[in-house]
Symmetry: C2
Subunit: 412 residues, 2 copies
């Protein structure tokens, strides 16, 4: 691996991703094999005078062993210190750096019900702390790191080292890290472009969107009143107003659908990797916002269990627009990972909405969000349905219809 | 690396080292680059129906960054959740598996006073929980794993991979893991041999030992009344009476010196690696148990700071006998690591005694231990002074003198 490029990537992660502040407490979560990259991020954070960089290294293959062999009691009862540990960092006004590196099929032989039950129990325990990232009270960023199994899934014809190297190159390209340029400057421009796009859509203030293509998608998505289109850079909602990029890469602009005004059918165009399991060729039928029917070629039973985790998982909380002709989309790589694939294609998210996608959303409690059409759930699961032939139409409150996408791309 | 031999090593660690019990909570601490070996240990523990295997992966090179750049306040004030986390496992009657892999000189450019201060603060915070391993309430074991920097320090003429492989082989040889034999059976025999040795020394019930060699060591070490020689296997002191091997490898038999009856000079014969710093060519002069003078060729100032950490660090808490002609000694490798080097040579430990080395010691509080000649300290730092020409004499309470070592080896 090229250490100079990795160091550039680490600096981008710390500066444009989390935008670590002087004196700030930083939490890094990374797979053990990314420990050296995590350490590079820590060094960059310390260069910006972070007070402390807490680094949590995990091993998903060990997690698999827990699911297969640990006592159910231990799995479901998250110890109090785990909660206190998160609260400790949040009380200090921390920022989060999540280094993600999905290992395909790692939980394939894990009992699906147990997986869902444990996730539910853990999420319920940690729920009181989720506002911190969900509401962007502090900065958080997700960046990706390669691993051999992931790389071999994408580039099966290459040997392990070459595949891994190729995946790293693709990741770096997607986040605009190269030898010549300062990625921080490229991201300033990129953030500005996304901001311009959002402003345009916000000015139209659409009542609903209509998605239609030849694959079978024919879906009406109502938008909540006073919805806000957002994308790229965000600003912390506490008094500090610190800018950060929650996702690197990011190409999307997204807003809040009305949880009760979604009707029709949506057909996914990319597989979805969730908790190490892969749903492929799946579709949902909505009636008044609720998923009333669904199908999937793989893991249908686990998908049902996910949908049944809480009432909100059967509604959507996010709708996002990305041109088919976008940088990541043009790489023509199926990453089997949301961070990349969601930025290559229009997508929806099952589950929780982002309160920042509605005016004064950060001041609303769950009840108020629901009353305004927002969705509440312990889940937020993106799935992709954009296609080359996708047309999208926006309907304004005055009844005017505006074409937003023509043949997969923005035309507004 | 040979995965079959590693799996054998993991099984030995779990069975003969920690002796994991059905339904037991297991805590593993390992450097991130030993994650796969840690996972093998976890699998073995789950095969023995452990209730949960908590695995903590650390990165000493990141710890170095903390020492260099983090706020002193964060470094010295261990968060409460860290304490609670340890207590959680102890309350469940856990056992510990420590996978050690020293990175030479990793803290070389860290401020020595800060290092000592932080260690002191952390140890003070965690002190109420130290009884669990110090008194062997639950099982614990330390095993070693190679790393490239360590391997290159030992075998500088080899390239990185070959050096690492050679170090792994040496480690496996030292813990009796090979292709042909079942190491569990070899350890049963080894534990029995050490036990026989202890019984002999306990029968003599020496009042004091006298060490003398041509390098300048001429040291009288009083032993506490009712001292107990121990070595190899231990038994948990709670009701469960579970056998375990705290150190793998282990070749020593050891007992409790009288903290106030040590007189003369001891000259170290191997460098000592402590917190990533290396003391070499050092010696101590004792008067009535107290170190009244010392010297060191390297890191003398840091050694002074360590000695000043608390009063007990200037006294000794352990004396151990190992034949110069022992398996690890015969490898003729200086490991720069206590786990190995202490098993190649007679040694003493600055700081805390093991309560199990005196009759009813596990029932004594600090005051009672001190009153009986035991030593109390937040430190326990072994250093080696055995040599090829070492003679050791034991004096009984009836005034008889028995030669225990002749020319470096047991002759009793």
């Amino acid at each position: 691996m090229d250490n100079n490029l990795l160091a550039k990537y680490a600096k981008l992660t710390v500066c444009k991703g989390a935008n670590v502040q002087k004196g700030q407490y930083v939490v890094i979560k990374a797979p053990y094999f990314a420990a050296e990259f995590a350490r590079m991020c820590a060094l960059e954070a310390y260069k910006r005078e972070a007070s402390y960089v807490e680094c949590n290294l995990f091993d998903e293959q060990l997690t698999r062993l827990h699911y297969k062999y640990a006592s159910e009691d231990e799995l479901k009862n998250l110890p109090q210190w785990q909660y206190d540990k998160s609260k400790y960092a949040i009380d200090k006004g921390c920022c989060y750096i999540y280094i993600t590196s999905p290992i395909p099929d790692v939980f394939n032989d894990v009992d699906a019900k147990l997986l869902a039950d444990v996730n539910l129990a853990v999420n319920q325990k940690m729920k009181p702390l989720q506002y911190y990232t969900t509401n962007s009270v502090g900065q958080w960023t997700i960046v990706a790191y390669p691993n051999v199994k992931w790389a071999k899934k994408l580039f099966s014809d290459l040997d392990e080292d070459d595949a891994n190297e190729k995946l790293l190159k693709a990741i770096l390209q997607a986040v605009r890290v190269d030898e010549e340029n300062d990625p921080n400057i490229l991201w300033d421009k990129h953030d500005k472009d996304l901001l311009d796009h959002c402003r345009k859509l916000n000015e139209y203030n659409f009542e609903s969107l209509h998605f239609v293509n030849d694959l079978g998608t024919d879906l009406y998505v109502g938008l909540v009143r006073d919805h806000i289109w957002a994308g790229g850079m965000e600003i912390t909602t506490d008094g500090r107003k610190i800018s950060f990029n929650p996702n690197m890469p990011t190409e999307e602009v997204f807003t809040m659908p009305d949880r009760n005004r979604v009707n029709g059918k949506v057909v996914a165009t990319k597989p979805l990797c969730h908790n190490g399991k892969v749903f492929s060729d799946f579709s949902f039928v909505f009636k008044d916002g609720l998923i009333v029917d669904f199908d999937a070629k793989t893991e249908k039973e686990y998908l049902r269990q996910v949908l049944d985790m809480d009432e909100g998982t059967r509604h959507i909380g996010e709708v996002a627009l990305i041109s088919y002709d976008s940088p990541i989309s043009n790489q023509n790589i199926l990453y089997y990972n949301t961070l990349f694939d969601e930025n290559a294609s229009c997508h929806l998210a099952l589950g929780a909405c982002y309160p920042s996608n509605i005016k004064n959303g950060d001041l609303m409690d769950d009840e108020q969000l629901l009353a305004n059409g927002g969705n509440i759930s312990i889940n937020h699961i993106d799935f992709m349905f954009g296609s080359k032939d996708m047309n999208v139409y926006g309907k304004t409150y005055s009844g005017e219809e505006i074409q937003i996408f023509k043949c997969g791309n923005f035309c507004i």
